[in-house]
Amino acid sequence: MPVTPTLKIKVWDWPTRLFHWLLVFSVSGAWISSFREYLLMEHVWFGHTVVGLLVFRIVWGWIGNGFARFREFVTGPQIVWEYAKMRFRNKAPRILGHNPLSAWMTVSLLLVLLGITLSGAVTLAGEEWIGPLAKYFSMEQGRFAKGIHVWLSYALLSLVTIHVLAAFLESFALRENLILAMISGFKRPPLEVETPLEKDKYSNGIKSVYPDVKLQYWFLSGFVLVVFALTVGVSFDYRTPLTQEALAEQQSPEHQLYMSECGSCHFGFHPSLLPHRSWEKMMSDLENHFGEDAWLDAETTQAILDYLGKNDAEHFQSEASFNLMENVADNELPLRITKIPYWLMKHEEISEQIYKRKSVRSPLNCGACHGYAEYGSFEDGHIRIPK
């Protein structure tokens, strides 16, 4: 079919375009949410979206329409070099899809993003002890991964800057709105430019590609189904029993002992929530423990007291412990966390109705509302009152 200049050619198929803008959305989201600690869960959510998009794009690079296929646009270093030389002398042919340079930009963006998400997952598991991978990575590995995560993010930021600049410059140079093309999918048809380079590769070497539409259909619907099942069924809330168990395994034996002895009747309160004198008093009379017998043998009692002594409000200073202790005088001996003024002030709006819920049942059930209470963290971002 002869192409007339008024005709437009569909270059970017709709899945590729959707992919591009969703990636812009989720990478920006991940970037913005990385500025605040309490947006961690949002950050992770954006990260997951990026992973899903990457999986999609890599498969689409094989089964997508011609312009989306890696085989059609990724070229060897020699051609890239030749093209670059021509481009800077402003003698390069106009190429409909990715030119050899932008092809490598695409590939590097994808690779860097892959590295960022992988190192992010390891950071989350190792350093923050969150997620199903928490069991498999240590704190040091998490720290190491975080370094990679951060540096790759800087690399990504530079790549994105170059990518956006190039898109603008090329738009002016070619007098064609490339950004609009990524929205509509259409571009001007190629002019007949004679080039010394392999014509088939550069002008529009797509004619040989006939995508398997049925395969695309199955992949797209399967992909959407899997993503849907993951978001709805598995839910990206990390407070699953699986995570809790993985976390427990990461903890020191002393912490585990404390949790199994003092976390059996009620939620295991983090030692930092009370001062040392309070724990000492409480541990000295476990037989009469708030109307219950919590008796322990002398050896276990001592071991727990040692653990409490290393992590109490004086030693493990967190936001929560600092605020709780602020208005407790040195001569006071609080035994109940839930009677400390700061606690009462922060929870006064919680109605009886909420405590009647089976999922909460009592103010002592800190973990029901505070995702990471077990680790002494009561960040606003992790508060969720269960139904």
């Binding site: 976390g263 059996s264 009747c265 009620h266 219950e292 017998d293 008796w295 089976k358 049942r361 009592s362």
Partner: protein
């Protein structure tokens, strides 16, 4: 056409056998008795010895008496509320219970549902001591404890 393989007779036979085997294996799983842990065995033997010293004619612990004990409600002398083992451990020892005052989830008490249960002599003693005191305001008798453990193994 390609996707209708399940219409073919041999796939139907295969599917039938698969479902049959699955349901059989579930059936067997439910039938199997949970083995008594060595700790529980040790505890039960010593209980039996103690009870036989007082009642030589004692025939052995039975799950029915244990069940009655598990559900028996008793009014607390000071608090006035009625308390039973089931209050925290739930109506079904095979499923998760919830601590009455703190709301904390308690893992199932029956070893059939939670293999970590009744595997440590010290732990069994400790919890009998605590829970009997809270529920009954006294210690549990050896006979009661024996019936109770036998009941937990009856699942």
């Amino acid at each position: 056409m390609r996707f209708k393989f399940y219409r073919k007779a041999r796939y139907q036979v295969f599917g039938f056998i698969l479902v049959l085997m699955l349901s059989l294996s579930f059936g067997f799983r439910a039938q199997g008795q949970t083995p008594v842990s060595s700790a529980a065995k040790q505890v039960l033997e010593s209980y039996l010895e103690i009870v036989r010293q007082e009642k030589p004619e004692f025939s052995g612990f039975d799950a029915k008496s244990g069940e009655r004990f598990y559900f028996a409600e008793r009014e607390h002398s000071r608090k006035g509320d009625s308390r039973s083992c089931a209050l925290c451990h739930g109506d079904d020892p095979k499923s998760i219970g919830q601590h009455f005052t703190s709301g904390k989830m308690i893992k199932p008490l029956a070893p059939a549902a939670n293999i970590e249960r009744l595997t440590e002599v010290k732990k069994i003693d400790k919890w009998f001591r605590r829970n009997c005191k809270w529920t009954l305001e006294r210690v549990c008798s050896t006979e009661e404890k024996g019936h109770f453990l036998t009941f937990l193994y009856s699942f």
